[in-house]
Subunit: 459 residues, 4 copies
């Protein structure tokens, strides 16, 4: 009734390693026990670390606290080098807060999660967007842009700006990248089986096609030690979202004010949340492409008994809130992409290829204003771009569109605009020893044997 | 200056076959000569037939004019049978209006096309949405829904309703499915080569992967007869959109008030337009899934000299107008789909698979209100659903979302709603002799060897 | 069912005077008989003349048809002189279409009127905005701007432009200025009594405070001749809207797609409509300040039995449609005005004064771009400006705001913008012999004894 | 650069009376010295008390801290009685934070104030809306509703709810009610002169028409004691907004993300801010009608040299941000009101009267769902209703509209809805000894001699 501060059920500690904090975990498994209990109908606050626990504070501060930084397991620093991104340890991500038991929830129910707010920590008003190196994570455009890169974003209230992508400012469509209820043993088994089948069928692929359970760096939350090896060997990685529970769906408008309807698979629901984003573009194309941040999410929980049947759902659904930043429909430039790849090769109705080409069209367009390709790649990952499936039936060309909001730029980017003369466009943060990121020319290589989004095979 | 009616540069005739009307054509080819000339800066009206020339008028009227209907080449009737859709002749589509020469346009320029309005003909206030039979055209969900079906839509001003999908009403986001400038010989050659390569590489596929030039039913516009065989053997089919000029991109918000920037490939630009849609959902999933209609488009033309270079584009871009129907962000239910197909098979980052699954989630949800699956499939094709690429980097699962606007329904479809008791939901139009469309169960069949959107191979 | 064109229940004739067309009338009176009957549930088209029947067509056309123009009673021409506005005969306005009897409607019911569409006539793609001379009609700012002026607007689809206010283009928020059901004898009597009381109480005012019944130029529709003198002596003028039925409420967003709930006072409802506007700003400040046009309105009618009681209304209410032109919230410059008038005099909580001052703030702001005050006055009258009551309780200052959409200008009007150098701003149309309109300085004159919106008294 | 928390330049103290806190003040006067200095270009946080310093915390807390509450001067408690509102001391309001000197600002400049965020204090997640007693403050509808009443609002993230107005929930359009730069001596003199003239001219009015300087309870900030009597006798009250600087303009969409352009009258600008609102409806009709709260505002300051001349303004202007809660245009019910008052009396073009009538139409409409009039009066004051000036030229009737957002209600309020059977509607908080507020019948009293908004005179 508003008469006291809302209860915080998870308080993170930047003074010690994430792996030592029992209310965090980094795998999905039914045997990870709840870390707190929430009443049906209650609103609580949950603090979240990010993808890779962010450093507590600024580089200046850290100068004097180098070992504190190391202690926490923080991987990404607020500086002008992408060395940390280049060398990131992906076995650790994501440290989720939870699980939380919701009183009365049982399998077959739906957990109605209303996101009342998401805010960064007041004393950590920054986040980052990263492009992984092609050999350590990669991203949607890594064929063209294989280097690691980074942009640091500063938060001032609703807005963010970056010294690495000057003359851009936008309001955050702030949201959790990951939320969901724990899988049952049966659901977990389904995940492990079907992802193993994909891996088995693609042994020759030139890249990982899925991430099987990985004991290394598994954090089992508060599970008793005799459960650790089971959780470590079976626990599902948090990177992919999955239809049965949502998880890491990275949906940009599943934001403040949204109501999410989540399937419950285990008694108590065992809800977890994390991977807070200050903003993200449709697709989150550079992989850690959102503006990753640490912060607090305020959630109201309600149990809908037998909801899976009465509502008729098998995957999560959600209803956005009324406060997303809005531009008029005429304040976007829309770009079209088709399933003809950068080598001129025709693909059959491949939306993945079409969306990649649409991204390339935006990059080509923005170049004339002085940004380099990596800056634009970073920007498309995190700014509120609208990525639409446009036409998906006109064989052989799928068509997708990207709407680029013009009002996030501090200068005129309309087709009739002059180039942004006199503006200094700076640079993204790159690896030590590389002044700029590597760009691979998009022509000539017609040796690709591609399916579903450009996967190729070792010969 | 508004002192007289705007000039109409193309007036279609419902009294004679489309194939006999020289200001129409149904292939892309540089040798199809302009049918009219438009001044740089001029606004004109262009009448358009539809995909398959619609009948002039009502069934009642047609009762007395059966042969008139036949004469025009009209293929789809305003009735309650999908026999016409079942037997449609796809070699004829689309009859485009044009080409129109724009004074001064030359290769390398950009043609700025501002869509001032799109309206149905006053005396033909209806259109249709069709699902093709799997063996004659098919659609995005034909694995599950192989039957032909149809919904007739009645227009009253800005709104449409259908007797085949009761209790739904929405405002049209009216737009042309196809617009673009003619290809040069070089561009056309590129198209034919790369699509032929796809066909060659997929000879064993269980369906057409692309449509090569087809002399049968080619309409060369006003081309001199000595050019006919060349155009017929080389002319690109209008079904796919293509990156070099746009064409049949079927983009729902490329609508009234939009400015489109089109690459010019031949002197005079040779602009064509057609395939008017009263409304369409993202993806246009049932193939002729928009509300197809005949009508009039009003366009202003401007030439931007050397625009490809100065603007920095290789494919069309556009800026929407301010009048699209708008619902608040909280007036959508969003559904999530992942690249795990209906057989439980895991695909690698396949947005096409994910989008198909998202469609299935909506169908499952709406069933409880009494609609059958074919009605929902038709509705998703043509209603203003928002189809987004959400997450495209979290291996192995691409995630897409569909936002379903709740305000197009005349009853409450929220998750907490009761079923729509007491409402009569009627039926889509089906083939003679079939009371309902065939539904193929989405389970069990794990023999599929799929890539890029579910293409399978003959064994 | 969309199988034939929608029935037109009123077809106007530009070949003969409005006064001779029996399906028109220009007073509200219960004895004006219905001119057509509409079924409960039916959708029909109704053609409308405008405020002052517009000329049939262009000046060029009229050159050869001067007497045709005179014959129709058309008062405003598509030319560059405001002589016609200066000399307008206000006793004629407005010629409404109807009344229409709706089957089954009876007093106490509510007539649900859904505006399916409003369109100008295809062969009259223009309208006008006028400023009346202070001595013949006046307007909201006539103390400062006493001259007559005019802007002609050209329509191209959804957009309009004016040669009299260059570099402005916007989409119409098209609507009827007037719609309502006929008053009963009792309601009419109430109107006449209370307006007569106001007139009686203000005999010394320097301007008309209300318009009593005026036999001169009364058009009784199809009433039998023995009723003419009664209707002429009692009939309510159409200029004011009135709470009991709506009438001339001039509400800009009561537009396409809106549902209006109208009180029924007489059997059959006797609905009338007219005064179509292509666009209007909040306040319609220059009196005939909307873009006045002739055209066609498409309406669906439904009777809600006993609706006044079941819905609980005494005045009309309405629910807008989803298609109004939308700009983002950040695409407006907002101006503030308070109840301190242009002479520096403090008024007590007077919203009328505050709104006038807000208008003056916009005029002052736009001057630096080269427009003269009359152009801006015209523009504020008809462009989609947002006029809000902001604060109405902080004695003694009421505060109102006006939001000016920046996207209707073809150049940058932001606070940081340079002046619009190099652009030619032209001129409004003025009276013959006056090059520019008269501007009365807004300072010094502290002799005003004002209340309620600046009414002063003769001494 | 986001590397540390943003600087807080004003930190309020709930442990001691507002009057003892030198960084607060409650009059406008050029001699109140700055309390802090802000750099040109800097972003800072400013803590604000509210209208009447709110108690630190909950009633439970206060039970044990009665004298702490008294000590702070807090006037309004989080309880279910309106006694505190009944007896409020209006001589104290508003305690503003500041003034703040902005480096380099000088008279003639414009201070560009960008509101980066506004948030309630985390440990005080509530606010209130009050209706003053007619004899102590009154409000816009006090002729009909003379009693004091109160609603307490609880905040959970972006949303608020009230136990005093059940079944309503909405997102805050959070904003400062007051912001502005200090007047120069000359400007202050103008204010005092013109408001004194109004008072002098209305000595017989039945209510205060303006508030002259009042030494009692004047808080001079950190001014040296020798200045106190001057400030107390000359200082302008904070209640009205004024055109020269803005001040208490109570504009609901001057919210997060807005840029405000403020005239500078004294060296250093001497900017003050306060009166934070979680939400407000257009008009703020019940006087302390917004949801009044204590909290923190984050502002970026920039000086635009000579801005008054280069921008061409005399009053503040602003450009809203992109994040205001948005409903679709079709999610409002609009009500119409005209300048015919509740006694049936016709007023001449009086927007104040029209707006009051529009409010009454909403109250009448919502009654059928079970709310009492005071609950609706409170709701209209604080919920995001859209109050528009519709028509202001059709003599004698001004017309205004109010758009009521339907999505803030937890049940269906559409015209076709049944009454909200089964829902318990509770009650507003009233004075001790009164179970419900007094309602004065709106008929019969035709003795009123009204102008500008219903002011009457003692006889």
């Amino acid at each position: 009734m508003g008469k006291s501060e809302i209860r915080t059920v998870c308080k993170v500690d930047f003074e010690k390693p994430a792996a030592n904090q029992p209310y965090l975990h980094n795998r999905w498994h039914p045997d990870i026990p709840p870390t707190a209990t929430i009443k049906n109908g209650e609103t609580v606050k949950i603090e979240c670390l990010d993808w890779y626990p962010l450093p507590l504070s600024s580089p200046y501060f850290l100068t004097n606290n180098a070992d504190k930084f190391a202690r926490t397991g923080g991987q990404i620093q607020n500086n002008d080098s992408a060395d940390d991104v280049r060398n990131v340890d992906l076995s650790k991500v994501h440290y989720l807060s939870g699980p939380f038991e919701v009183e009365g929830a049982k399998p077959g129910d739906v957990l109605l999660v209303e996101i009342m707010d998401v805010q960064p920590f007041q004393d950590q008003p920054w986040g980052f967007t990263g492009i992984f190196d092609k050999s350590n994570g990669g991203g949607f455009l890594d064929e063209m842009y294989p280097s690691a890169a980074k942009a640091i974003w500063d938060f001032e209230g609703i807005y963010c700006t970056s010294r690495h992508i000057p003359h851009v400012k936008f309001a955050g469509l702030i949201h959790p990248g990951i939320l969901g209820c724990a899988p049952s043993a049966e659901v977990l088994n389904t995940w492990n089986r079907r992802e193993a089948e994909l891996i088995a069928a693609n042994k020759l692929a030139d890249r990982d096609v899925a991430l099987p359970p990985l004991p290394h760096n598994t954090h089992c939350g508060s599970a008793a030690s005799h459960l650790h090896s089971k959780i470590a060997s079976e626990g599902a990685r948090t990177i992919p979202g999955r239809p049965e529970h949502g998880g890491n769906c990275d949906i940009k408008n599943l934001s403040r004010g949204s109501k999410v309807y989540l399937p419950v698979h285990v008694p108590g629901a065992n809800f977890s949340v994390g991977d807070l984003h200050f903003s993200q573009g449709d697709g989150e194309i550079s992989f850690c492409g959102a503006i990753e941040m640490a912060g607090v999410i305020t959630i109201n929980f309600k149990v809908i008994p037998n909801g899976l049947e009465t509502i008729g759902i098998t995957s999560p659904i959600y209803i956005p809130g009324p406060v997303e930043p809005s531009f008029g429909p005429g304040r976007y430039i829309y770009f079209e992409g088709f399933s003809v790849d950068q080598n001129g090769k025709q693909h059959y109705m491949d939306v993945t290829v079409a969306y990649r080409q649409t991204c390339m069209r935006v990059i080509e367009y923005l170049r004339r204003f002085g940004y380099d390709d990596y800056q634009i790649y970073l920007l498309l990952s995190c700014a509120p771009i609208q990525g639409h499936v446009a036409g998906i039936v006109d064989i052989p060309n799928a068509c997708t569109t990207i709407g680029l909001p013009v009002d996030i730029f501090g200068f005129d980017i309309s087709p009739g605009a002059k180039t942004a003369e006199g503006l200094e466009m700076g640079s993204a943060a790159f690896e030590t020893g590389k002044e700029k990121g590597v760009v691979v020319s998009g022509t000539g290589a017609n040796s690709e044997v591609s399916f579903g989004g450009g996967l190729t095979y070792k010969e």
